[in-house]
Symmetry: C2
Subunit: 151 residues, 2 copies
């Protein structure tokens, strides 16, 4: 079975737009490309973060395997901020704080693999956030300032 | 953990070149990007088929989820020949005959997800092949003639 791709959408796949919680994430769409079938007990999704948008800052027991499919930006993995661009593979291990930001002046699109059965994310408390901001690189990232300053 | 991508290779990932069996497949490389870890009991690989090359014609109990990452070509799914290009998602179900061919004059690269534990492929018998060739579209495909005739 083939799902044809065109302009970052897949035929027959619904695109969900998150608008409910701009405090937690911003300008993110989600398309579920594969849902648990046969011997593949996983969900495979495509997320797209619009310019200057970001995914939720969260951690959880379940793992992510991510491949960047479009554009560039930055990812936070615990205390580490890294530039990411097309083709990069990111493995997010249990209980690692993580967030993706499209802070390079373009859209950031990525595939994300998870187990079909998984726990709910945990979000940072005010105290967690205060500790994160103590690290200058993380502080800049969370302010959306890891990308180029001149736009 | 990040594996940086550059020129269709990933840092720290070994590229395997299949040369052992030109009767079965031709000009295919494999890079294993993710191997069973935590709650993701899967292997995620990148295969690249050189111009005019092809993957093995096979079927098995285990499933494949494939995303085309580079170039174009054709895929055979049982009796169906389809053009494929970047971004297309292909779900290969248990016991479907399948083969990928880079028959459009360029390289064909794709991600392929499988369960970490899986059965061995079955290859066609002479009788299977005879039956496949009875279908004109499948016949052209197997001769590497689904792509443009003028090159």
């Amino acid at each position: 079975m083939i799902k044809k791709f065109s302009d970052y959408t897949w035929k027959g796949v619904e695109k969900h737009i998150y608008k409910e919680n701009p405090e937690v994430f911003r300008a993110v769409t989600k398309q579920v490309l594969f849902e648990h079938e046969g011997d593949l007990p996983v969900q495979f999704r495509y997320f797209e973060v619009d310019r200057d948008g970001f995914s939720s800052l969260e951690k959880h027991e379940h793992m992510h395997m991510v491949v960047i499919f479009r554009g560039k930006g930055h990812v936070l993995l615990n205390q580490q901020v890294s530039g990411i661009s097309e083709g990069d593979l990111i493995i997010i291990r249990p209980w690692e704080w993580h967030q993706f930001r499209a802070d390079e002046g373009e859209k950031l699109g990525f595939f994300c693999l998870v187990n079909a059965q998984r726990d709910f994310p945990v979000y940072p408390t005010k105290d967690d956030l205060r500790k994160m901001h103590e690290n200058p690189a993380v502080h800049s990232f969370l302010q959306g300032q890891s990308g180029p300053r001149e736009k």
